[in-house]
Symmetry: C2
Subunit: 231 residues, 2 copies
C-alpha cells in the first residue's frame, strides 16, 4: 500500500497534502488496467471519480457529430485528469481512451475526496495551487496557439519540454507520435515533418521517430520569437 502512497505523493493535487490526509486518499483509490484503445469514459457521462495515470497513456478527445476527432490532451504517467469535471460540473466534458497496451489508471472516489476537502482546510491549498498550475499551463498553450506561424508554435513547444543532455545538445523525448504532436500544435503531420526536415537541413536539430535533439538552442529561441523562418 505504501507503494501506492508514494505514487500519489507525486500527483499534483495530492503532493501538498500532510501525510495523514494522504493516507485517507489512499483509501479512496482503486487501480485498474486497460487495453490499448479501450474507452475509459465518454463525454457527457456522469462523473463521480477522477483518475491518475500510473503507467501507459491516455488520450482526451472531443468528437464532432460528423466524426472528426479533436485531441484535447495526451497524458502520460504521473498526470491526473477529470478533477475539474468532478469538482465543478459532474459530467465528463471529453472522451478518454487508453493508448498503450497495459495502461494502468488509479481511480479516486470523488465523493470521498470532496468530503476530505470539506473536513480539513489544509486540503484545499494543495488542490487550489495545482489547479492554478494547470491554469497557467493552459494560458501558456493559448499563447502558443495564438502564434500564426507553425514554426513559432513548434519552437515554443520544444522550449517548454523537459530536456536532458548537455548545453548545445538538448534531447527532447517526444512521448507521443508525431501525428498527435502535430494535432496538439494545430498543424498537419506533413507541415510538422517539413519543418523538422528544414531545421535538420539547416543543422539546428536532429530528429528521429521518438526524439528531437536541439543543437542550436539560440536559434530555437529566435524561431520562438518569430524571426527568420525561411532557411
Amino acid at each position: 500500500m505504501s507503494e501506492l502512497a508514494a505514487f500519489l505523493r507525486g500527483l499534483p493535487h495530492v503532493s501538498g497534502l500532510p501525510p495523514e490526509l494522504l493516507e485517507r486518499v489512499v483509501g479512496l483509490c482503486r487501480e485498474r488496467s486497460y487495453a490499448r484503445g479501450e474507452r475509459v469514459f465518454g463525454r457527457g457521462e456522469p462523473c463521480r471519480t477522477f483518475h491518475a495515470v500510473r503507467a501507459g497513456g491516455v488520450r482526451l478527445t472531443r468528437s464532432t457529430p460528423e466524426g472528426r476527432e479533436q485531441l484535447v490532451a495526451r497524458l502520460g504517467p504521473g498526470a491526473s485528469f477529470a478533477e475539474a469535471a468532478l469538482l465543478a460540473f459532474g459530467r465528463y466534458p471529453v472522451d478518454a481512451t487508453a493508448v498503450e497496451d497495459p495502461t494502468v489508471l488509479v481511480t479516486i472516489d470523488g465523493a470521498g475526496f470532496q468530503r476530505l476537502l470539506q473536513d480539513d482546510p489544509r486540503a484545499a491549498p494543495a488542490v487550489i495551487s495545482s489547479l492554478c498550475v494547470r491554469l497557467a499551463e493552459l494560458v501558456e498553450r493559448v499563447d502558443e496557439l495564438s502564434r500564426v506561424q507553425a514554426g513559432e508554435r513548434l519552437a515554443r513547444w520544444l522550449q517548454r519540454q523537459p530536456a536532458r543532455g548537455a548545453e548545445g545538445r538538448l534531447t527532447v523525448e517526444l512521448g507521443l507520435p508525431k501525428r498527435e504532436l502535430a494535432a496538439h500544435l494545430a498543424m498537419t503531420p506533413e507541415t510538422l515533418s517539413r519543418l523538422l526536415g528544414r531545421w535538420r537541413d539547416a543543422g539546428w536539430i536532429e530528429s528521429d521517430r521518438r526524439c528531437i535533439v536541439v543543437l542550436d538552442a539560440e536559434r530555437l529561441a529566435e524561431l520562438a520569437e518569430g524571426e527568420g523562418q525561411a532557411p
Copy 2:
C-alpha cells in the same frame, strides 16, 4: 458598503460564499480608478493582491523582448484576474493596462484572502469551482484555436458569446475593438473583416462597429463544425 458587497456577490470566486464570509471579503477591498492606458501592474512584479473590474476594462498582455505585444485576455466589468498568480506563483505573469477612461478596479488583499481560505473550509469550494470554470473556458478556447480555418474559429467564438434578441436574430455585442477580437482569434484584422464581409453578403449576419447580429444561427452552427466556408 453593501453596494460593494452586491458587486462582490457577482464575482466568480466569491459568489458561492456564505454571507458572513462575504462580509469579511468586503473588508479586504480597496477601490481605485485608472485612466485610459494607465498601467495596473507589470509582468514579473510581486503579486500580493488580486483584482476585479468594476467599470471600464483591462487588457492583459505579454510583450516579447522585441516589443511585439500579445493579447492574453481582455476583461470587462464583473471579471476578476490575477487570482491564480496570487494563489500559486507570487508574481504577475502578464502586464495589465486599463483600456477605458475611467476604469475602476476593486483590489482584494491576497494575504487576507488566503487567511480566509485557511480559516474556513466553506470558502474553498467557491474558489475551487470558479477555478474549474475558468479551466473549462480555457480548454474551450484551446479547442477553438486548434481549428485550422479562421471562419470556424470565428463561428465558434460567436456561438459562445452571450446574445440577446429573438430566435433568428441574435445580437452579440462585441465589447472590444475588432482588431483585438482578431488577435484573440489568432487572425489578422483584415481576415476578420473579410470573413464578416462575406457572411454579410451571404445574408447570414449583419455587422457594425460594435455588434454582430446573427440572422442564420443554423448556418453559423454549420460553419462552426467546419462546413462550407466559401460562399
